[in-house]
């Protein structure tokens, strides 16, 4: 088992005051809160910080933890001492949160003050609802279809400790689901101690797509065109989720011109649109012929794009 240095996690000294610990927690919690943070490992860091704070904010837990010293020497396995916890009374280990703690935390403070959840309910009550988040590929929203998703579900083991279990579900994704929406799976929540199982609610976000960006129901595609296609107008090919289409570029188009393909976005009773946002792509001037062509261009079209800048 890995020893957790909670002081290091919080970035405080071992003799930090309660106020300093609280301050450090607040700062880190704001930085890594999964609803606020865009840091890559925000969720894992937030859990780690929450766990450290859970221990360090409680005088009893902190005192007990301090007795462990600085942890085992590098490469050594950590094991709780046999007389661990003697003389300390821990209350409310879980703090009412449904998060799963590290094995290290569980081995020290697990089980304390955390009764089986839902135990107060009668046997005929509804089971607990579960909530999860998933990252879906955009195609799932465009066409619907089944996806296998893996969820980490907190479950109580035989000793009443909260453990994260993997649960694999095969889900029919409803066509037209949008980022930020929730999929409900009736009866897929917890059935522990209940006649009717609860429901499972899954918040959906999309993985970044290689071609399209998503704005509500609309899809946005960066569409590169040549300078002459933009200037003279042209019919160019563009990918859409439903296959390649021909798109008319109007004459005198410029970078940023939006070309709308109605109804080619995410399906719905009023489906979203697909927008091709034009980007002018310049051929490289890497041989004599190309350089000559650019020079001809320059002579034929005296043009100062910096007019507006006053130079």
């Amino acid at each position: 088992m890995e020893f957790k240095d909670y002081y290091k996690v919080m970035g405080v000294a071992r003799d930090a005051t309660e106020a300093q610990i609280k301050q450090a927690y607040r700062k880190l919690a704001r930085k890594y809160h999964p609803d606020v943070s865009k840091e890559k490992d925000a969720e894992a860091r937030f859990k780690e910080v929450g766990e450290a704070y859970e221990v360090l904010k409680s005088p009893e837990k902190r005192a007990a933890y301090d007795q462990l010293g600085q942890g085992p020497r590098p490469g050594e396995e950590f094991r709780p001492p046999p007389d661990w916890g003697a003389g300390f009374e821990f209350s409310g280990a879980g703090g009412g949160r449904d998060q799963d703690y590290s094995d290290f935390f569980e081995s020290l403070f697990g089980g304390a003050g955390r009764g089986p959840r839902g135990a107060h309910r009668g046997p005929d009550a509804r089971g607990e609802d579960h909530h999860a988040k998933i990252l879906l590929d955009l195609e799932a929203a465009l066409t619907g279809g089944s996806r296998t998703i893996t969820l980490r579900v907190p479950e109580l083991d035989a000793e009443g400790r909260l453990m994260a279990k993997e649960r694999v579900l095969n889900v029919q994704v409803p066509k037209g689901i949008l980022a930020g929406q929730t999929i409900r799976l009736a009866g897929q929540g917890s059935s522990a101690g209940a006649k009717t199982p609860g429901d499972l609610y899954i918040e959906v976000e999309f993985q970044p797509h290689t071609l399209y960006k998503v704005d509500g129901r609309d899809l946005i595609l960066e569409l590169p065109v040549t300078p002459w296609e933009a200037a003279l107008g042209a019919t160019v090919k563009a990918p859409t989720p439903g296959g390649t289409v021909e798109l008319k570029v109007p004459a005198n188009a410029h970078a940023g011109t939006k070309l709308r393909l109605k109804g080619r976005g995410i399906p719905a009773s009023t489906p979203g649109d697909l927008y091709g946002v034009m980007q002018i792509a310049l051929p490289a001037a890497d041989d004599d012929a190309a350089k000559a062509a650019y020079r001809t261009f320059a002579e034929a079209l005296p043009f100062n794009p910096r007019n507006r800048l006053g130079v």
Partner: protein
């Protein structure tokens, strides 16, 4: 690891149903109904219709209420603070989206 069901489970888009009552919302968030009322009073949640004298929320209110709850609990901020944070997060989200649309 086990696949719970061989056949795919049919998912429904929850947000399509503008029918959550205060009771349902408070049960789904595992909070007291007064918390939901406070969220409405603070303008975090908006009531889309009143049905027989009872409030109804869109399904999307679930996610918003749960986010508000997490912010309040994890960051120990009060409801006006939560409301402000949610608003700023939304602005940030739409700015990020716009930025994402302009080049990479």
């Amino acid at each position: 690891m086990r696949a719970d069901n061989q056949a795919a489970l049919a998912g429904e888009i929850f947000d399509d149903r503008p029918v959550l009552t205060v009771e349902e919302l408070s049960r789904l968030c595992a909070v007291d109904r007064t918390f939901i009322v406070e969220l409405v009073e603070e303008g975090v949640l908006s009531v889309t219709e009143v049905h027989g004298g009872e409030w109804r929320f869109p399904g999307a209110a679930l996610r918003r209420a749960r986010t508000a709850l997490r912010l309040q609990r994890d960051l120990e901020i009060n409801l006006p603070g939560v409301a402000l944070a949610l608003e700023l997060l939304e602005q940030l989200e739409s700015l990020r989206r716009e930025l994402g649309l302009v080049g990479r």
